[in-house]
Amino acid sequence: MIPVVTSPSLVSAVGVTKDFPGVRALDNVSFSVEIGEVHALLGENGAGKSTLTKVLAGDYPPDAGWVEVLGQRIRFSSPHDARRAGIRLVTQERSLVPSLSAAENVFMGVLPSRAGALLDRRELNRRTRAELDRVGLEHVDPGKEVGLLRPAEQQLVEIARALSREGRVLILDEPTAALSTQETARLFDVVRALRSSGVGILYISHRIGELRDIADRVTVLRDGRVASTHLVTETTREGLVREMIGRDLKEMYPRRRTSFGEPALVFDHTTVPGICEDISLTVRRGEIVAVFGLVGSGATELPYVAAGDRPGNGVFLSGSAGLVPADRHAEAIFPASTLRRNLTAPSIGRYQRLGIYRRRAEQAAAERQIESLRIRPPATEALISSLSGGNQQKVVVGRWLERGADVLMLSEPTRGVDVGARAEIYAILASRCDAGAAVFIASSDIDEVAGLADQVVVMAKGRIVERLAGSAITTERLLEAATR
């Protein structure tokens, strides 16, 4: 869909500059979303994507420049002004109330009432039905408690809520980060339907591969500036990556390995009720084995079973194991602690002499890992939350390298990680393999699995449905097996 240049844009940022203490987050950014357009915004973490969306959503007033809606310059004095102008932001941070029903969440604040005060539940459910159908949640009962829905379904409820209030511009911030391939396809159907109804969509994603399927134009931000704007059909993956990181990314994925050592992790007919059934697989030293499966397949849980967090029968491990959990925020990060401590937590018992804790030894260990993993900022005493998602993930991987783990188990290793840091994490895993470690990953990111693994098992409904190795691992065959 080629944008019509003569009519005013649905929403546009004109020469927007935004400064934070010590850093210019946006520098003279001009950008527009047309009526009935899906405009993708690409950029590494810290490139200014979220600052730009926050300016559009009225959260941040620009220091220079302005925002226009249908050619009208808007003075945002609060997020309410943006909402009134029809701009809806759906972020990665969930804003749903888990203990309330889907219906109550969708219509929160504007619940239909009868006789002025009583909640009109029938009307509420009827309207929610329509909104849920629109986002492909036909199977979800409006009365169902949101906390009981799967993460992917919660995401769609969130979109339903954004749309329910006459949204004209929908900003989707990494909507597919936690979605399976199937759910992503369903979301894209929803987005296309919205596009044809005239809604403008600003689409933020780290997954370059999916942009061709969904976006009309793509704008790349780098260091707070617009690096380029293209029609998606005129772009290549390599070209976009180059514009994002300002250089060639020679190889996203490391070279495949060819020789493997002794088995380090073995599942022998492992069954864990509610997670997996009769799983048998072997991870050898020097090898990256991936388990691939859609959300709900049980794949994500296998590293937890391997690590003994979810005990199962027939799991054999030789070596020192380290688990990188799927939910970085809830399961991995120590939010009130420093970067140093986040790197050293599993090894804390080592920094001592005669029972006396030695801060200096811990400090030295952290500095060593920061340097070898190129963690930014290289400040041991920085708050962990001040790091980008990619750097936080490097820290979580790094804590196991510091511990000397040689059986690395990672669940969704690069969720919410930008493309530069992603390549670095792959390189780290490959170099550990070369040094004799065994790597076991569970992922729902099909490109990652196809690019990284020496051996893949595909899971569906808790069972292994396919095994692929070496050059037989292709995205087509993975997808075919997972959805069979």
Partner: protein
Amino acid sequence: MANSEPAAAQSGPAAGPRSRSLRTLRESSTVGLAAVVVLVSAVFAFIAPNFVTASNIANVARASAVFGIAALGITIPMIAGAVDLSFGAIMSLAAIGTAAQLSSGTPMLQAMAVGLAIGLGLGILNGVIATVLHLDSMIVTLGTLSVFGGVAFMITNAQRTYAPGDDFAFLGRGFLIGVPVPVWIMLAVGGSLALLLRFTTFGQRCFIVGDNSRAASLSGLSIARTRIAALAISGVAAALAGIVITSNDGLIYAGTGERYLLQGLAAVVIGGTALRGGTGTVVGTLLGIFLLGIVDNGLNLVGVPGVWQDVLRGLILIGALVIDRLRDSRL
């Protein structure tokens, strides 16, 4: 592959407005609290003529030290993410144990050892119930507060237990270099706990486990061991506090320790230890203890009725919780 240039670029905007170091944040709140203590003292010095006299200062210090010893103790489990509400009942029960031993002629050190052992045992019991059964420690210790308190009433028949002996009385009533002995004890407890937190890996584990117990457990750390040890420490400190009260009064009633529940808890929270765990300092708790002691005493001198002091203590606790919440949202 993957050179360092793009990584350096990443640290820019994302890190910008929030890249404050943790230590500055903590130090600034401790300094702020110290300033509040000085300010409140100055106000009372001005409006209450007897506030700045040697005997009054000794009184404030002695009164604060009694619940202060227990408050210092519960700082440790709170940092490790376990709230100990039962410390008041442990104070009573351990003190009764010591007093009963003294009454029956047991030597002083041995009698005190019995009290401290009771505190240790009850603390471990708290920890085992909470961690082995995976229950919320706040609710568990609310339960054991009632259980231990009830047992104290049963074994004493709600009668006083005398604690005879001049040597023993020295602990609560004596002076050393012009400073009341309970204050020395409190400072010794505070110093030991500060060293424990700072210079042992156990202390560091308390911070890790309290910060994110799920992540700690997936990092291979034992939540149970850390929290049981932390609650054992608060049990022993509570027992010591109970013994000091008994020494000061020459006798002990069931229910005595429970009266310090609010003050002890408030001192820790005011001192900047996060209710959710993971942060906290001994110095902060000491400042919290002084602040509460000074406010209590100052209001007394100015002539504010006792009932109003209860109201004020409650409000200070709530205020400290609000600050705790604000501090939390800044992380």
